[in-house]
C-alpha cells in the first residue's frame, strides 16, 4: 500500500489550484504580449491584467485602482513601510510595529530605526495578541505610521485590526497590516475595516509564488520602491508578471467562492479536531496562539521534552509535511522570535510544531495525523533525557 501523504504546511505555501494554473497558461504562450503595448497582443493582455485587478479588489471590497501588484508579499510590505516612512518623514519620525511580525515587516521597520526613525516594537501577550490599550499608550505626538499583522504565520493569532486601525484613524496615523496569512481565508472588507494599506500574497491562497499586492487606500500617497517605466500607477515599475497576476485574480475569485460555500467552516472544524485530538492524545502539550481568535486553517503547539526538527523529520518519514519554530530549524539557532515574544522559554519553544491545513485537507488526513503523531512524540521522548519514562 502506498503511504498516505499529508501536506500540513499551507502557512508556508499552498499548491496552485488547477483552475488557477489553467487561467495562467495562455499568458506564457499565445497571449504573451506586453500589456503596455499598443497593439492587439498587448491590448488583449492588458484586459486580463485589469480583470485580475478587479478580482483581487473584489476579495477585499476595494476599488481596482487601489490594488498595486507586486512581486510578492515581502515586496508589498517593503513598499508600504518604506513608502509610508518616506512620505511622512517630514511630519514625524515615530513608527510602531509588533514583536511578532513576519521578518518582511519587522526587519524593514528595524531598518527604518537604523535610518533616522524612532521605532516602538509592541509586546504581545501569551496568546500572541497585541493589546489595543498598549498600542494606544505607545502613540506619540510624532507617530506617523503603524503596522501590525492581520494574522500571525507561526501561531495563527488574529489581531484586533479593526480596533487598532480605528485608533490610528482617530489620531491621523497611517496604518498598514500584513494580511498575507489572512487574505482568502478570513473575509476582509476594507469598506468597513479602517486600514490604509494591506498586504496580500498569492501563494498563500492557492495562487502562484512571486506575486502579491498592496491595497493602497484611495488618497494615500507613497513613493514607489521600484522606479522605472511607471507600471502599476507608477508604484511598481517593471513589465507585469502577467501570468502570475492573472493567476492571482483567479485565486481571489476562488477564495470568494469558498467563503460563499462556507468552506472556512469546514476548515475550522478540522482544525479544532486536530487541536483537540493532539491535546487529548499527548500530554504536556501547549497550544500556541489564541484558541478562538486564530486562522481557520492553523494549528500550532509546543510539545514538551522534545525538539521540533526531529519531530518534522520523523513526521516526514511517515508522509506528513509540517514546520517548526524550534531553534534547531533556524539557521541562527535561536527559536522563533514569535514564540519568544509570547514569553515561551527556549526549552518549550524547542518543541514547536505547526500544522497548517488546506482547502483539500480531509478528515481522513487529520485522523491519519492524529494516529501518526503520538508514536513520533513517544519515540522522541524515549530518547530525551527529559522525557517521562
Amino acid at each position: 500500500m502506498e503511504q498516505r501523504r499529508v501536506y500540513l504546511d499551507h502557512s508556508a505555501t499552498t499548491p496552485v489550484d488547477d483552475r488557477v494554473l489553467e487561467a495562467m497558461m495562455p499568458f506564457f504562450k499565445g497571449d504573451f504580449g506586453n500589456p503596455n503595448s499598443i497593439h492587439a497582443w498587448g491590448r488583449r493582455v492588458r484586459e486580463h491584467v485589469n480583470g485580475a485587478r478587479e478580482h483581487v479588489a473584489s476579495l477585499l471590497g476595494a476599488e481596482p485602482r487601489e490594488i498595486i501588484f507586486t512581486g510578492g508579499g515581502s515586496e508589498a510590505d517593503n513598499l508600504a513601510i518604506k513608502g509610508a516612512a518616506f512620505a511622512l518623514k517630514a511630519r514625524g519620525k515615530h513608527v510602531i510595529t509588533s514583536a511578532i511580525e513576519h521578518h518582511a515587516v519587522l526587519d524593514t521597520v528595524k531598518w527604518l530605526g537604523e535610518n533616522g526613525f524612532d521605532v516602538t516594537i509592541l509586546p504581545v501577550d501569551a496568546q500572541g495578541m497585541v493589546s489595543p490599550e498598549t498600542f494606544r499608550n505607545s502613540l506619540r505626538e510624532d507617530t506617523v505610521f503603524a503596522t501590525v499583522m492581520y494574522a500571525n504565520n507561526e501561531v495563527g493569532t488574529v489581531q484586533p485590526i479593526a480596533e487598532l486601525g480605528a485608533i490610528c484613524r482617530e489620531r491621523g496615523i497611517l496604518f498598514h497590516t500584513d494580511a498575507v496569512q489572512a487574505a482568502g481565508h478570513i473575509p476582509i472588507d476594507v469598506r468597513t475595516l479602517p486600514v490604509d494599506m494591506l498586504t496580500l500574497s498569492a501563494h498563500k491562497m492557492y495562487g502562484p509564488k512571486g506575486v502579491g499586492a498592496l491595497y493602497l487606500r484611495k488618497g494615500v500617497r507613497i513613493p514607489p520602491l521600484v522606479h522605472g517605466g511607471g507600471q502599476e500607477f507608477g508604484l511598481r515599475s517593471g513589465t507585469e508578471n502577467t501570468a502570475g497576476i492573472v493567476g492571482f485574480g483567479e485565486a481571489a475569485l476562488l477564495a470568494l467562492d469558498r467563503f460563499e460555500n462556507g468552506d472556512d467552516e469546514k476548515e475550522r472544524f478540522l482544525r479544532d479536531k486536530l487541536i483537540d485530538g493532539i491535546q487529548a492524545r499527548i500530554d504536556a502539550v501547549l497550544l500556541t496562539g489564541h484558541r478562538t481568535q486564530r486562522l481557520p486553517f492553523h494549528a500550532s503547539v509546543c510539545i514538551e521534552h522534545i525538539e521540533g526538527e526531529a519531530m518534522l523529520l520523523r513526521l516526514d518519514a511517515v508522509g506528513i509535511g509540517a514546520s517548526s519554530g524550534s531553534a534547531c530549524t533556524s539557521g541562527s539557532l535561536d527559536p522563533s522570535h514569535v514564540l519568544l515574544a509570547m514569553g515561551l522559554s527556549h526549552v518549550t519553544a524547542h518543541g514547536s510544531l505547526r500544522l497548517s491545513l488546506g482547502k483539500d485537507t480531509t478528515e481522513a488526513d487529520i485522523d491519519y495525523v492524529l494516529d501518526a503523531l503520538p508514536p513520533v512524540v513517544e519515540t522522541l521522548r524515549a530518547m530525551s533525557p527529559f522525557g517521562r519514562k
Binding site: E309, A310, S326, T329, L333, V347, S384, F386
Partner: protein, 125 residues
C-alpha cells in the same frame, strides 16, 4: 540535507536510554540552541563495556550521539577520549554547516562521561 547515514541513525538510533548502574554519566548542553545530551557508560578494566545516550535535540544531535556510542563501545577510556567531533562527522558522512555543533555535543558528552567515571574512581580510591 542529511546523508543516508544520518537519517538511518536518527530513525533507528542505536543505544538509546540510560544504564541502571552507570559508572559514568556525562550530561552536556549546548548553550547556543539549548540542546542536551546525556551519555552513560559502564566501565570494566578501563574499558567501556556498555553505553547509552539520551538526547534532547535535533536529528543531527540524535544521530551524532547514537553513532558516537557505537564508536566508543569496547574502547579503553583513553581511546574513547581520542574520538573527536571530526570522527563523528566522518562516520556520519558529514553534516550541514549549521549542524556541525551538534556533533561537538557528542564529543563533549563522551569526555564528560569519562571524566565523571574518573572522578568517581578518584573519590572512592
Amino acid at each position: 540535507m542529511y546523508t543516508e547515514t544520518v537519517r538511518d541513525y536518527f530513525l533507528n538510533p542505536r543505544n538509546v536510554g540510560s544504564l541502571d548502574h552507570a559508572d559514568g554519566i556525562g550530561e552536556v548542553g549546548n548553550a547556543k540552541c539549548g540542546d542536551v545530551m546525556k551519555i552513560s557508560i559502564k566501565v570494566e578494566d578501563d574499558r567501556i563495556t556498555d553505553v547509552r545516550f539520551e538526547t534532547f535535540g535535533c536529528a543531527a544531535a540524535i544521530a551524532s550521539s547514537s553513532i558516537a556510542t557505537e564508536m566508543i563501545k569496547g574502547k579503553t577510556l583513553d581511546e574513547a577520549l581520542q574520538v573527536t567531533n571530526r570522527d563523528v562527522l566522518n562516520a556520519l558522512g558529514g553534516l550541514p554547516a549549521e549542524k556541525i555543533h551538534c556533533s561537538l555535543l557528542a564529543e563533549e558528552g563522551i569526555r564528560a562521561a569519562v571524566e565523571d567515571y574518573r572522578s568517581r574512581m578518584a573519590e572512592s580510591a
